[in-house]
Symmetry: C2
């Protein structure tokens, strides 16, 4: 096991009606003037935004609003948010929504207290300070509610890049599973896929003797395998929603990923798909992961056999472990299809002829050196082959 | 799943040589004058104490020392520590040792900033503030390094009681698995048993639809089943020590226990054994748990069958689930015996004729009303029967 540091100081407030505690929590964090940052009309139509405002007003807190966050959140709105916060003297950013609203909020919070261009953080600069951020989560997916990460797409060049730092870990996150009950099945399934991707990206490792984190990841994957189909069949199932929501948060605080090398090639390869086609990140991952795993599997057959046996219930073929490893990848692919995810480029709306462009953006874009590095270092030829496996 | 709040702001610094970061971490927390609180001679003999002092000196920090913490730490030393801290103007308490040193440190830290008798906290008063506490862990067991809990034994009356509060959650905990390599096998096994008890106490629940926390607990139990015998067979195995250490911490931060009712009857019933006979807490638990589980199992046969199948690899007897449930309890008992734990009163050094006294202390001591309450509410008759199962 590698040496590591783990620090997750977010206060998670979980359960029914917990959004009504938003005002109290902001006040505890010392906030006085809040930016409420959100996406489209659903948080307005559902009445959630009104409840949040009432909760802030009850504590005597002032606020301004900025809606309009899109999936794969853009740099343009981040600049707008930074300007608004500076102009209005905002001292707390409250995200209401999913990973996009949260990531956009984190970018704004970091940008407000930074003299340079916030995009510096998305080119590798560590975020050590930011305005305090709180979240009210409306979809179990990105895990951004409990992470120090944020992903933003820069409109010039269409680059989708991530930033990290303790400064943007949320001070609190309100997790009410009931808020996710109105999500359409497709979005729910995208969220399930994203959560499972966060688990697989940590599971695929060259580290050895990492039984404790293996077992934690497998436990969370088994939860998703059990609860995913339940919630797709019955979107109002609060209990299944609750299990998925806590699994999604635990999947990404990194308590199950410490002390081991991780992969993240699937995320990098997918990012170019959602950047180019503006597809849902989860849907892109559903197509990407089986291809990446098929390509990476020969490098560590036993690891893929292990997840096949422990999570997917495959019989171990002791003479041909690669048969078991492949069976596990197929079981995962079939699971994703069963919850309504696309299985290939066509179903995703991607085009084979764009592969050279995808590879160029992936391996050369924004200053990269022709490779991406995770469990394996992949060059342009590798990435081309992987995209072709998705066709 | 029940509504819950989860907040674990401890910074965990894990791996080889991490004790050398103690000074830096204390300084980051604003400490200037440190009480180093520890137990017996092993931290002195091993040179650990010297390394810790050097690390503090390198940051220009002053310190005083208080050794002598015993297993089942006593109130007398806590009072002594409180007086010392007040006299010396200590502003940070650094525990070096296991659960006993940490629990004693937490009690001192709470007592220094409290006007009344610190024992009030151990009679149910919530600890909302205390001097900051840091820990350097030398045995994987109690989980106190990541919890807001502390257990102290009051010398008058021999009452062993727990206190809780956010004020005593460690600011940081240094976890170097190599520091545990010198532990004798018996103490290592006691630690393994304590960790598994923390998991079982959370697993045994009347809550339903708690798949995610079930799976996390099972993952940690499976880790202990795998790594426990490895480390008993080979005490120098760093990797097995590392897996056990992180499992021990994760078992008790409560990330795997949120949103569900928990049991803790085994802990309460054991506390009287270690209070009366001064046996190791883990050894007492090894004798207590199989008896408690045998007594509680009929109340929720399927829960005990589930852990039997998922953790102990028992075949499910679909016609007679209680057969599977019992097989799981026996598998756990045999596991504990295999790592060197006692199996009954005789091996523990307890006496059947003391049972009335144990029951009296348990159910009536320190103002209790004749019952203890966990997964089941147990009266004096129940507790007598449970102690008799251990004979």
């Amino acid at each position: 096991m590698n040496n590591f540091e783990f620090y997750s100081p977010t206060r998670f407030v979980f359960g029914k009606d917990t959004e009504n505690e938003a005002g109290k929590l902001v006040k505890q964090c010392g906030g006085t003037k809040v930016l409420i940052h959100y996406g489209g009309g659903s948080v307005v139509r559902s009445g959630l935004l009104d409840r949040v405002k009432k909760s802030l007003e009850a504590e005597g807190l002032a606020y301004v609003e900025l809606g309009g966050v899109k999936p794969n959140p853009r740099s343009g709105l981040v600049y707008e948010g930074i300007d608004l916060c500076k102009k209005e003297g905002v001292d707390f950013v409250l995200a209401v929504g999913g990973g996009s609203a949260i990531d956009s909020s984190k970018a704004i919070a970091a940008g407000v207290v930074y003299d340079g261009d916030f995009w510096d953080f998305y080119q590798g600069k560590w975020i050590d300070k930011a305005l305090p951020v709180g979240t009210i989560l409306t979809i179990a997916a990105a895990g951004s509610e409990g992470s120090g990460d944020s992903v933003i797409t820069k409109e010039e060049g269409n680059y989708k890049r991530g930033a990290t730092g303790e400064g943007i870990r949320p001070k609190f996150s309100i997790l009410n599973p009931a808020l996710t009950q109105t999500l359409p099945p497709y979005q729910t399934a995208c969220g399930i896929t994203d959560i499972m991707a966060h688990l697989y990206e940590r599971y695929i490792t060259s580290s050895t003797d990492v039984e404790v984190t293996d077992r934690l990841i497998e436990g969370l994957l088994l939860t998703m395998v059990h609860e995913g189909p339940r919630v797709i069949a019955d979107p109002d199932n609060y209990e299944a929603r609750a299990n998925i929501m806590w699994a999604g948060t635990m999947a990404h605080t990194n308590s199950c990923g410490v002390g081991r090398n991780q992969d993240w090639n699937s995320h990098n390869i997918e990012h170019e798909l959602s950047a180019l086609y503006d597809c849902a990140h989860g849907a892109g991952l559903a197509v990407t992961m089986p291809a990446v795993f098929t390509y990476e599997m020969p490098r560590n057959v036993m690891r893929f056999a292990q997840v096949a046996v422990r999570v997917w219930g495959c019989q171990m073929d002791f003479e041909h472990p690669e048969v078991t490893a492949r069976a596990g990848i197929e079981a995962f692919r079939n699971f994703l299809i069963s919850i309504g995810m696309p299985k290939n480029f066509e179903e995703l709306g991607a085009k084979e002829e764009d592969i050279p462009k995808l590879v160029e953006m992936l391996c050369r874009g924004d200053g990269r050196d022709g490779t991406i590095s995770g469990f394996m270092t992949l060059n342009e030829e590798d990435c081309t082959k992987i995209y072709k496996l998705m066709v």
